[in-house]
Symmetry: C2
Subunit: 584 residues, 2 copies
């Protein structure tokens, strides 16, 4: 008999675990769509993010654990301590695959235990169920790398067991704390980075979650042959399209974003970085990996056929960090006036280990330099600055609360953030479509929920024309086709891949959805998030004032997508002229 | 010829001063009503509070400088760095009287100068105009007391010159920084305390504003005899009604608020404080003043006939602080488990001198104790904690950002604040009407804009019934009759005093307003503030979750005024059944 998909509830207040079958109405939603659905159904939108009534939700995507390429990303969500709104953040590693194969639709973690500041728990998830165990003293106050290694050894059954941990930042319930996840080698270089989910996990006093399917795989398909067939055809396309990413990682973007004038330089005060951008490119990362014995073309989760990730080694060939991405490179690099990939890699490691979002932290670092807390380009100063988080000093707490709070505490108004969350490494004055996503996104300053990369849709990134229609499309497809299936962002969104999403869902679930249906599911997901956010008091549109009034060299452009256009992005009764025609 | 009322504009970007006549449409609005009017007409509600497009507005009330009793309070406003919304904060001292007599309707300070972090300016306001002067090194980094003494001597002409200053907190642009104003003796014991206006003044790089009318008085009245007559009759009533306040100051409230179960005890975790409340009462303050040579029955501004203020002396009779109020007493007292008025007075002085709101700071202190940063009741620990602000350490910066930011940075969710501003010393679970004001107020957690003191309107403070109607009345009268005239809160609001407001306005301005008109002006003021706040993204209603879900001993009550009632407070088409009948 086919194993039912199940939902676990872990109540940290009374330390109980219960399990229930997945309601039929959840069948075709997963990941991000499921998270916002549960949040709307079960939560008071005005609850405090680190209070007893927030819920930390781990939700598998529709394809998690299947043979579809690039479908292993796991979604984690809650009411965000950064934005106060609906939040989903997804990450690689084997977690999604394992949970999918155990047929776990979601783990909903509720309540707050009444224990001391230094008391924590470990959750162990296996096919036998979920156990709540007291966390051993050895991992309290420790970073994510060490915690995960310890927990994998102590609580894992197989060598593939995955571990989700919080570092010192999550223990402090700092608002930019992330959840770090192990990759396939057991390093916590994968992050559910954005929105402060580590603070929610820390508030529930969970230091680590160890997940081990012990090799079990209960995945079934309505039409296995059709699923396998579509997977195979898609893999070939994605593999080919992802060649640049495979070779140079996401840092391949340094050059085009610099060229378009959207690279954050010295706290978003210039858009290009003369010749120095060449020292922090993906090509340079690749060269160093070849020279030193780091890795490029590294897969972040089972079944990934793009393999855009990397492992960075130092001059002696020793591990420095894993998964050094464009955002982190640009924001600790040009944004902090630092052109040294070794220093940038060490900063990335510190973020992953202390357990903070490297985007919010690096934007905070740029502000710290502008405020004179660190000198521009001071590498040692920057690394010492980050180490404050590990020591849990007052300064470290402020840093770990991210760019918005850092800017507030240090009296700075030039803070590139929306709705409390730092924007990514695309200055909205040079990448106006992405700027419109930052401004309108249900997630705050997030580039993954609708990133109008230069050239996308054939639209000039400096033009304000047609951006809004493109952005609505990107946001809708990201919300469901990507973030609710477990697919990696790099599978799409693009019309080329949309038919595969439809084919795969139908083959797995025995449905007969159309492309229109999938688009509509994306809109429904956005509507759910907007509903939650409004009830939580999160504004619909938010733009950092300095990006509206301060022209960005060298184009001397401001962010000026019209308010009317931006309001229409989420006014779903309004149809953009370009909505149906944009070829992106 | 009658001297025209004028509006000054000080542009700090290009260091210019201009003057313009007051538009006719501003004639019958002053103080708070004028501030929100100017904000709506001239400002982008989404501007950054410490960016170039916020404006710091000093606006005289309709009665400032006249012979009406208790009419000397000066209104200062801006977009609040704490709430992000419309903000007016008023204070005593001679400033209102001086500006009124110089016929200055408002001083609007705009722009941001491009100068170094440690460069500041001093403004000098005299009948000759406004000068922008470089601030001397002697006052940079100094507290408000010393700064004001220095500036009064250097820039004042007469001994009555008043000085507005920021302390270290305002220099840091910390979000709970206040503006400190001199009292009639030249001590900066008067504060425009709430909402972070000191950060706005600091962002504009103004360390002090020296105001000296050089004895000039250009006040005129349409009907001088009627004005004098009404003033005299009112003074007799107010004088009699204010006897308790005169003798014991606002701390006379410690006993009734404790008795009703609304006193904040150990970070709002209990509502009464066994027998210890007796050690921090107004009666005890009075006794100490008599014993040591402090003062009670001290007037905060010229023409005050209540004289509820005080000067606190130490055991040797030396000055400790001035104007030690109920809020500060309760929030540094029972809220921090400290029953020593000497320590509380020293903490008040530190707040006034470093230039932070003593309410937001003392609520932060209670949270710090709950978080284990200081031990409960640790007096030395608390004083050292406050001294961090003077040293501008990272911890000091966080404290000076107020309770909401302090709670966020230290991972605490039990934070008694609404819309970013700490609530005052009436726990909303024991004083539900005041709780409804905190939740709905355009100002965030503010007790002065609609305080349903126990017994007001004959309503049980623990009942949810009829609170909303009472609160709308109180909010409307406070907004115009009190905060827009320069009247002290203790003149009203009450129907007994309303006819006087009408009489005085008509006698001064030659109008024929009715009581209904005055009420309507209050509603219009609220509407203007709501308009600005909504456009700025400030939620209409905000309630700290713990006060909704955590029963407060000894009544074990939660804050549960219905959402419907609270929404109706600002739904002016809705008429509360009790609106016309409440006798308060």
């Amino acid at each position: 008999m086919e194993k039912m998909e199940k939902i676990y509830r872990v109540n940290m207040t009374d330390q109980t675990v219960s399990v229930e079958p997945t309601p039929e109405c959840y069948r075709l939603i997963g990941g991000r769509a499921l998270i916002t659905q549960i949040m709307n159904e079960e939560m008071d939108p005005q609850c405090h993010p680190i209070g007893p009534n927030n819920k930390l939700i781990i939700a598998t995507g529709l394809f998690n654990g299947t043979t579809a390429p690039c479908s292993g990303r796991i979604s984690i969500g809650a009411k965000s301590p950064l934005t106060n709104g609906s939040k989903e953040s997804n990450a690689g590693g084997p977690t999604g695959t394992m949970l999918g194969r155990m047929k776990i639709k979601a783990i909903i973690i509720e309540g707050l235990p009444k224990v001391g500041e230094d008391d924590f728990f470990v959750l162990r998830v296996t096919p036998a169920g979920i156990e709540i165990l007291p966390a051993p003293q050895e991992i309290i106050g420790k970073g994510c790398y060490e915690t995960a290694r310890y927990c994998k050894k102590k609580y894992g059954y197989s060598h593939t067991a995955s571990v989700l941990t919080i570092g010192q930042a999550g223990e402090m319930r700092a608002t930019a704390a992330c959840i770090s996840l192990t990759n396939m080698e057991g390093d916590t270089s994968r992050q559910a980075g954005r929105g402060g989910l580590g603070a929610v996990m820390g508030s529930k006093k969970i230091k680590a979650i160890v997940i081990d399917n012990r090799g079990e795989n209960h995945i079934t398909y309505a039409d296995p042959k059709a699923y396998r067939d579509a997977s195979y055809r898609l893999a070939k396309i994605v593999n080919k399209a992802g060649k640049g990413l495979n070779a140079y990682g996401t840092a391949v973007l340094v050059t085009p974003i610099n060229n378009v004038g959207g690279l954050p330089v010295r706290n978003f005060s210039e858009g290009t970085w003369d010749d120095r951008f060449k020292k922090i490119t993906g090509q340079e990362l690749h060269r160093l990996a070849d020279e030193r014995g780091g890795q490029w073309g590294h897969s972040c989760h089972p079944g990934c056929c793009i393999a855009c990730s990397n492992v960075v080694a130092d001059k002696d060939g020793e591990y420095v960090t894993g998964s050094l991405e464009f955002e982190t490179v640009a924001l600790f690099g040009s944004n902090c006036d630092i052109d040294d990939l070794d220093c940038i890699a060490r900063c990335d490691y510190k973020c992953d280990d202390y357990g903070v979002d490297s985007i919010d932290t690096s934007v905070a670092a740029g502000i710290a330099m502008e405020a004179g807390v660190i000198e521009w380009g001071d590498k040692e100063g920057l690394e010492a600055f980050l180490d404050e988080m590990g020591k849990k000093t007052p300064l470290g707490r402020v840093i770990a609360c991210g760019a918005a709070t850092f800017g507030k505490v240090f009296g700075q108004w030039r803070v590139s953030q929306t709705k409390g969350q730092a924007t990514a490494a695309y200055d909205p004055r040079g990448c106006k479509g992405t700027g419109a996503t930052y401004a309108t996104s249900t997630m705050g300053g997030d580039h993954t929920v609708g990133n109008a990369l230069p050239g996308r849709g054939g639209i000039d990134p400096h033009s304000t024309e047609k951006q809004a229609g493109l952005i609505r499309n990107l946001q809708a497809y990201s919300a469901y086709m990507i973030d609710s299936t477990g697919w990696c962002l790099f599978v799409g969104p693009s019309f080329t891949k949309l038919p595969f999403a439809v084919e795969l869902i139908n083959a797995k679930y025995g449905t007969s959805l159309t492309e229109k249906d999938v688009y509509k599911m994306g809109i429904e997901t956005l509507k759910n998030e907007i509903k939650f956010n409004r009830a939580a008091g999160v504004p619909d549109i938010d733009i950092p004032e300095f990006e509206k009034v301060e022209p960005l060299p060298p184009h001397n452009d401001v962010f000026n997508v019209s308010m009317e256009d931006m309001k229409n992005i989420h006014n779903f009764d309004y149809e953009f002229p370009e909505e149906k025609t944009t070829d992106w």
